[in-house]
């Protein structure tokens, strides 16, 4: 791996993104609108918004970056650019990390917009630490990027890549504790939820929102998400094959 090539790749991905203002607008505006809608739907019970909005802030980056990255990577694979890149000095790790950095940066802007709207306009209670909240969102986004890169190996087309989103994200969403506490689920489901990275993001965000200080559990949650992201990037890079049949 070579930091210069990693950065060049991240820069290239961001330049491509810059040419697609509609995607940027969707990525930045949609979470804000959904949060507002959520607040309006539960206007009769304001505590529901207070309880669940942090969990939503954890879900958006994972879901959206997964989608954006898996489609971008399917394009690289089917357009022949991936095969070509793998015949150059670019390392597989440079490519994976380049994507991770580019979409991580986008996720940071998204998290700033979504949490800004939630805190300043929608009246979400101040969390224990805004920087830690942003950190969780970015780690979560890099995880989504890494999962998207990996899944792109299984998708033969952009059409299929989109179908993988509910398959990968919805089970995590159901088991994250957002809809019902994991402790009230059947034992085996609770066990499964422990290997679902989104659970830790939801847990971390909720603790930040409802506990006055950044507890050790929040750092543990952040560590688990970051670890899963790195692991997924490593597994994802094994799906990049220089030699094929």
């Amino acid at each position: 791996m070579n930091p210069r090539l990693t950065i060049a790749t991240a820069g290239r991905v961001l330049s491509q993104l810059r040419r697609d203002p509609r995607t940027i607008a969707l990525v930045l505006v949609m979470p804000c609108v959904l949060l507002w809608l959520f607040k309006e739907v539960f206007s009769a019970e304001p505590t529901v918004f207070q309880q669940l909005a942090p969990a939503l802030l954890a879900t958006f980056p994972l879901m959206i970056m997964f989608l954006v990255t898996s489609v971008a990577m399917v394009r690289e694979r089917s357009g022949g650019t991936l095969e070509r890149l793998l015949t150059t000095p670019l390392g597989k790790g440079d490519l994976m990390l380049g994507y991770g950095i580019a979409f991580g940066a986008l996720a940071l802007v998204q998290a700033l917009a979504a949490s800004g709207v939630a805190l300043l306009l929608l009246g979400l209670d101040q969390p224990a630490s805004v920087p830690v909240l942003l950190l969780i969102a970015v780690a979560d986004a890099v995880l989504g990027t890494a999962l998207g890169l990996g899944v792109s190996a299984l998708a033969a087309s952009e059409f299929q890549a989109v179908q993988f989103m509910p398959a990968v994200i919805l089970p995590q969403f159901l088991l994250s504790g957002l809809i019902t506490p994991t402790s009230s689920m059947a034992g085996w489901l609770d066990a499964v939820s422990h290997v679902m990275p989104l659970r830790y993001a939801v847990d971390g965000m909720s603790r930040l929102a409802h506990v006055a200080t950044v507890s050790a559990t929040v750092w543990w949650d952040l560590g688990v998400i970051a670890g899963c992201a790195v692991l997924a990037l490593i597994v994802g890079s094994t799906t990049l094959r220089r030699t094929t049949a």
Binding site: R12, Q16, G79, L85, A245
Partner: protein, 239 residues
Amino acid sequence: MAAIDIDQLVVRRRGNTVLDRIDLAVREGSVTALLGPSGSGKTTLLRVLVGAQRTTSGTAHVLGRPAGHAVLRGEIGYTTQVASVYPDLTALENVRYHATLHGAGRAAALAALAKVDLADYADRLVRALSGGQVNRVSLACALVGRPRLLLLDEPTVGLDPVLRRDLWALFRAEASDNGTTLVVSSHVLDEAAHCDRLLLLRDGRLIADDTPAGLLRATAAADLDDAFLTLVTTQEVPA
């Protein structure tokens, strides 16, 4: 040293023999045309040389190293048949990215675009360019690293005759000025006249390996088209 040295190379894919016992040596600094109808194995052979194709048996050496060796990734420029560039970047951004991958900068990228006669289109988005222009952006990406070996898969397909002539002049210049070795695939037979060597593939077999003049003599044909037809007809008699 031979730039390319292939010995009894076999590639089978899902039971089909795509390349059948290929023996081949390409001299450094030469321009070689790899000819054959579509489906004859040209692309597979180029993919073997860049290390993208799994082989069944035999060996392929490139610039003294086994094909696919990590060091070679810095020494080979490769274009695929379908231009593999990013449509949502400008021509210059595409070439600059490849320049960076090969340790070169903006000046090298501009020079490569000038070589393929696209200097005026540097800031155009690739998706706004014509098919022939996109192919040349892809070519510039391969040239920008000043590779020792250029492997070009049908770089002249779909181009008008003037542009084709200019590109062949560029290929010749790369070989004579920089000592670059070029292997250029094509299914247009008359392009073979521009080359030092021609290789004719048919159904995965190498059925001719000669200079254009040598091939005309050997087949007693009036032109290269005739020579190929003669070869193909003789090949149809079971060996």
